[in-house]
C-alpha cells in the first residue's frame, strides 16, 4: 500500500478582499461612504502532495502565492476554499500536536526575542515546546556544531548581524525537531558563504531526521542544491510539478552551444546555426532548439574552424525567467504544464 503523503493539498484557494480608492480628496471622502473592494486571488485552486522526507522547491515570482500557501499550510491563514492536510492535521485548526511537529521560517523575525541572549530564547522554546532536557541539550549541541553558533549563543539578538541572526532563527525553529519544515526564503540577504552553509545544513537536517521540507527561494543555487523536485506557481496557479531537470525540457526546449573559432567568425553569418546570444572575439554563444542540437553541432564542426565546442542546458535562472515572463494565462498553453500532466511525476 502506498504511504500517505505528509502534505496533501486539493484545490486550495485563497482570495483576499482588498479595499482600494482613487487618489485625491474627493475619492477619499467618497470612500468614507462607500468602500470599493476588489477580490485578489492569491492562490487559485492548487493541488499537490509531498511525501515524507522530500525536499521540494516551491518557486514563483513575487506575488505568485508562495508565501500565502505556506501560511495556509502552517496554520496562519484560513483558505477560502479547498482542502489541505499536513501530517494528517488541518493546519488552520492549529492543533497543538501539529504546531509541535512543524515549523515555519519566514524572513528573520519569527523566533528570537530581540533583547535577550539567543540561548535564553532557546531555553524559552524548550519550555514552550516541552522538549525533554536531554533531547534539548543534544539538539542544541548538534545545531551549534552544524551552524557554528558557539560564539553567538550568549549575545543578545539585537547585536547579531543579519547572517548570524538567520542562523540562530533557523536553529530556534528546529529545536523541537519538527517533522515538516516550511522555509520561506531562508537564505535571503545572506552572503554566498552563509547561503551555502544554510543550504548544507538543510540537506543534512533532512538526511538525519527524514523531515519533509517545502522551500521557497529566489536563489536558484538553493533550489539546485537541495530540490530534486520543484513546484512552480504563477498568478496563484500551479504551472509545473516535477523534477527540476524536467523543468528545462518543458519550459526551455533549447540548449546553449558555445564555440571558439580559430580566426573568429570572419564575417560569416552565424544566425543560420541558431540564435546568437553572445559574440565576442572568437567566442560565440548560440541558442539552438534541443532537437536540432546534434545537426547544428555537426554543421559547426564541418563548416567552421572550431577550436572548442561545448553544449549546455540553459542556466536554471534563464528557464525560470522564461516561465515567468509568460503573460497571464499564456503559460497554460506551454507543453508540460500541469494542465497536461497534473501529478505524473509525484512520488507516492
Amino acid at each position: 500500500m502506498a504511504e500517505s503523503p505528509v502534505i496533501q493539498i486539493d484545490e486550495l484557494s485563497k482570495i483576499y478582499t482588498v479595499t482600494e480608492r482613487e487618489a485625491g480628496l474627493v475619492a477619499a471622502m467618497r470612500s468614507l461612504v462607500k468602500r470599493k473592494t476588489r477580490d485578489v486571488r492569491a492562490v487559485d485552486g492548487i493541488s499537490f502532495s509531498v511525501s515524507e522526507g522530500e525536499i521540494v522547491g516551491f518557486l514563483g515570482p513575487n506575488g505568485a502565492g508562495k508565501t500565502t500557501t505556506l501560511k495556509m499550510l502552517s496554520g496562519l491563514l484560513y483558505p477560502t476554499s479547498g482542502r489541505a492536510t499536513v501530517l494528517g492535521f488541518r493546519p488552520w485548526e492549529r492543533n497543538r500536536d501539529y504546531l509541535r511537529r512543524m515549523t515555519l521560517v519566514m524572513g528573520q523575525r519569527n523566533q528570537l526575542v530581540w533583547d535577550i541572549p539567543v540561548i535564553d530564547t532557546f531555553e524559552l522554546n524548550r519550555a514552550v515546546y516541552r522538549i525533554p532536557e536531554a533531547e534539548y541539550t543534544r539538539t542544541v549541541g548538534v545545531l551549534t556544531e552544524l551552524l557554528e553558533l558557539a560564539p553567538l549563543l550568549r549575545k543578545p539578538t539585537r547585536n547579531l548581524s543579519l547572517g548570524e541572526r538567520m542562523k540562530c532563527e533557523i536553529a530556534a525553529a528546529l529545536l523541537h525537531r519538527p517533522w515538516v519544515l516550511f522555509l520561506d526564503e531562508p537564505t535571503i540577504g545572506l552572503d554566498v558563504t552563509m547561503q551555502r552553509r544554510i543550504r548544507q545544513f538543510i540537506a543534512e537536517y533532512n538526511q538525519r531526521t527524514g523531515a519533509t521540507v517545502l522551500l521557497t527561494s529566489h536563489y536558484m543555487a538553493d533550489v539546485e542544491a537541495l530540490c530534486k523536485r520543484v513546484i512552480v506557481i504563477h498568478h496563484g496557479k500551479l504551472l509545473y510539478d516535477g523534477d527540476l531537470s524536467g523543468l528545462a525540457d518543458r519550459f526551455a526546449p533549447f540548449k546553449t552551444v558555445e564555440v571558439e573559432l580559430q580566426n573568429g567568425a570572419g564575417g560569416r553569418p552565424l544566425d543560420r546555426y541558431g540564435e546568437v546570444l553572445v559574440q565576442s572575439e572568437g567566442r560565440i554563444t548560440l541558442r539552438v532548439p534541443k532537437v536540432e542540437t546534434a545537426t547544428v553541432t555537426g554543421r559547426l564542426l564541418a563548416e567552421l574552424d572550431v577550436v572548442d565546442l561545448t553544449v549546455q542546458d540553459p542556466p536554471i535562472e534563464d528557464v525560470i525567467e522564461q516561465v515567468f515572463s509568460q503573460p497571464d494565462g499564456a503559460t497554460s498553453h506551454l507543453p508540460g504544464t500541469v494542465a497536461d500532466a497534473p501529478f505524473d511525476s509525484q512520488k507516492q
Binding site: T68, K71, L76, M106, N110, V113, I116, D120, V128, R130
Partner: protein, 267 residues
C-alpha cells in the same frame, strides 16, 4: 501542570531580562502609576481639610489610605495589552505567537506579573513612604486581609481578560488608539480611581455597580479599608466571578473570530 509551570518560569525569566534592558522606561511607567493617585490624594485631602475634616463619610485619613491602597491595587491589576496588541497586529508580530503550541495570552500574563513583581520592589517602599509622610493610620481586620488576596487575584484576572478582549478590536480596526482612550476615561470614572464611588450621586453608583470596573479596583480597595461587611464581600466576589466568566467567554469568542479576521486580511 508541571509543563505549564516550566513555561511560565521561562516567560518570567524572559520578561525580567527584557525589563532589565529597559530600566528607565520601566521607571517612567512606574512613576506614572505613582503620580496619578498621589495627585488625587493631595486634592481630596485638601478638600477634606477645608470642609472641616471630611467629604461625605471620608475623613482626611480615609482619603490618604484610599489612594495609597488604590495605587497598589491598580498596580496589581493594570495591563498595557491594549497598546501592545495594536502594534502586534499592524507589524505582523502576531504570526510568531500563533505558530507556538500555546495560547498567546500566557506569555502576556507572565509578562504582566513579571513586571509587577519587579516594580513592587520600588512601589512597596514608595507606599510605605507616602503612608509615613501623610501620617496614615490603618488597622485592618484579619479577615479583610485574608479575603483581599483572592479578591485581588480575581480582580487581576477579570481585568486581564476584559482588556485582552478589548485589545482584540485591533483585529477589526487598525486605529484603536481612540477606543483605548475612551475606555481609559470610562475606567477612571467608574472604577473609583478618580474619587471614591460613595461620593458620586446615587445614579452613578448604580451604574458603577452593574459595570465591571468597580469590581476591578474600588471593591478590593474598599475591602482593604474595612468598609465592607462580610455580606458585601460575598456579593462583590459573586460580581467578580460573573465578570470573570463573562470576560473569559468573550475572550474565547472574540479570539476565534479575530484569528479568522487576521487570517482573512493576511497574517
Amino acid at each position: 501542570m508541571t509543563a505549564f509551570f516550566s513555561i511560565y518560569k521561562g516567560y518570567f525569566r524572559t520578561a525580567l531580562a527584557i525589563q532589565f534592558q529597559y530600566r528607565i522606561a520601566m521607571l517612567i511607567w512606574l512613576l506614572g502609576g505613582i503620580i496619578e493617585p498621589l495627585m488625587y490624594l493631595v486634592v481630596w485631602r485638601t478638600v477634606a481639610q477645608q470642609q472641616g475634616g471630611a467629604v461625605g463619610d471620608y475623613a482626611v485619613n480615609d482619603f490618604v489610605v484610599y489612594y495609597i491602597a488604590m495605587m497598589l491595587v491598580n498596580h496589581g491589576t493594570f495591563t498595557w495589552i491594549m497598546w501592545e496588541y495594536d502594534h502586534r497586529i499592524r507589524m505582523g508580530q502576531f504570526s510568531a505567537l500563533l505558530l507556538k503550541p500555546i495560547h498567546p495570552i500566557h506569555s502576556d500574563i507572565a509578562d504582566n506579573i513579571g513586571y509587577k513583581f519587579l516594580t513592587l520592589t520600588v512601589l512597596g517602599p514608595t507606599a510605605a513612604l507616602l503612608a509615613w509622610f501623610f501620617n496614615a493610620t490603618w488597622q485592618p481586620d484579619l479577615w479583610t486581609l485574608a479575603a483581599f488576596v483572592p479578591v485581588l487575584f480575581l480582580a487581576f484576572l477579570m481585568r486581564f481578560f476584559w482588556e485582552w478582549t478589548l485589545a482584540m478590536l485591533a483585529f477589526w480596526t487598525t486605529r484603536v488608539d481612540a477606543i483605548n482612550q475612551a475606555y481609559f476615561v470610562i475606567v477612571l470614572f467608574f472604577s473609583g480611581r478618580l474619587a471614591p464611588l460613595d461620593l458620586f450621586p446615587q445614579v452613578v453608583q448604580s451604574v458603577a455597580a452593574i459595570l465591571p470596573f468597580r469590581w476591578m479596583l474600588a471593591f478590593p480597595v474598599e475591602l482593604l479599608l474595612g468598609r465592607l461587611t462580610p455580606g458585601e464581600l460575598l456579593i462583590g466576589i459573586g460580581a467578580q466571578l460573573f465578570w470573570l466568566i463573562a470576560g473569559y467567554l468573550s475572550l474565547q469568542l472574540i479570539y476565534r473570530a479575530g484569528i479568522r479576521r487576521y487570517a482573512a486580511f493576511g497574517a
